[in-house]
Symmetry: C2
Subunit: 225 residues, 2 copies
DNA sequence: AGGTCAATCTCGCCT
DNA sequence: AGGCGAGGTTGACCT
């Protein structure tokens, strides 16, 4: 890992062209040759970058200006960095990172709801998770108290595209004489008003689920019986 | 901008929880207090981070281990960094960045197609760009050789959600006696097979457009007449 | 401020 | 390897 702080001008040409005027920025060069150009603001996205696999060529022009050319290995994307003045330049061997452990995403929510289907409606029981259809897997297939099929789409945040997804599944599943009629349930930790309106307009029930509460139900140490 | 290279352990708690075991990494602290933790690989996304607005508190524990606590201003997201050993620590004032100039994205493609509507079909003419409907603007409203309305959705890469978007527009527009019947055209530089199947199943025509070719047509220096 | 949509998206999973 | 969906998405633009 090399970190350079320098006054530089950056030009990218590839899927689009992008230009950064001369200014002071941080340039990170990773062990795999990839390059990130960061300013002192914005979020985690660099102003400009080159993803691996790529190669970095360093040249010094006649006028003494250093120019870096970073070329992508699989396309003709290039990043050109003209360096006017280097304020800082340091390199360190970081080694291979042990990597990130995550918890609490949609998959976990699906597991919890699969175990506690009554959260989705009284008398609801699970048929199977990831029920496969021709256009993709439905998160949960259930049966309600009356024995009718219910397709459940689970999102962390419920937005319009999730309702569209569920609608496509329902349209397809309702053509299957073995299954129909199939109702839809849209379950999320939070459902945007527009998504709720669209869902309810299509006869899809919206269920807001409390992740912490579900996790609490599921936590053996919190069970009383 | 402060750049620290250190052996550290990182824990994030917020929308999810994430843990990074002790290892050597680069930590960037931007002027607005935001923090990025990078390893020597991956793409531009940090292993862990805190977006602004946030505050950074630095504490030294009894055992001499430094702990940074980065807290988001608007939520209770926190990033905890335990620093075992600092290999490098430098700060520089970068000033405000003049910012990025981009060219060649979807908007430009829309401009080009608006000027060359025959690319979308013989005898096609433009009615207007960004034709407003109750659920949002249709990229292009055209009329075909026979004078019938055509709604055009433009994407750089044509995927299913683009077809859904166009379908919603068509459904709405076909309720308008002034407009109907309205046909749909899905135009993109590249159309994914699944999106094409869905579009054609719904009677939407798919048109693959060549951006460079269109730009060539539009470039005055390349015009012969 | 909030909603919508694109992105040089990145990342992970699955076929 | 390619397709597909999610993201602590981020960012830009509009209302």
């Amino acid at each position: 890992m090399r970190v350079v702080i320098a006054r530089c001008q950056v030009d990218y040409a590839g899927r689009l062209t992008a230009h950064l005027p001369m200014a002071t920025r941080v340039i990170m060069v990773k062990a795999d040759g990839s390059v990130l150009v960061h300013s002192d603001g914005g979020s985690y996205k660099p102003l400009n970058w080159m993803s691996p696999p790529c190669t970095l060529r360093e040249e010094v022009a006649e006028d003494g200006v250093t120019e870096w050319t970073v070329s992508a290995a699989k396309s003709d994307d290039t990043l050109r960095i003209r360096i006017e003045k280097v304020l800082h330049d340091t390199s360190h061997d970081l080694g291979v990172d042990p990597g990130l452990r995550k918890d609490g995403v949609e998959k976990h929510l699906q597991e919890l709801l699969a175990e506690h289907t009554t959260t989705l409606g009284e008398g609801m029981s699970l048929v199977r998770r990831e029920y496969m259809t021709a256009i993709g897997p439905v998160d949960l297939l259930c049966r309600d108290a009356a024995g009718a099929a219910v397709a459940v789409e689970i999102k962390r945040r419920g937005e319009i595209d999730g309702v569209e997804q569920l609608t496509r599944y329902l349209e397809l599943m309702n053509r299957d004489p073995q299954l129909r009629p199939v109702r839809g349930v849209f379950a999320a930790q939070e459902i945007k008003p527009q998504a709720r309106v669209l869902a309810e307009d299509r006869g899809i029930r919206c269920v807001v689920v409390n992740y912490d509460e579900l996790r609490g139900i599921d936590d053996p140490s919190l069970r009383l019986f």
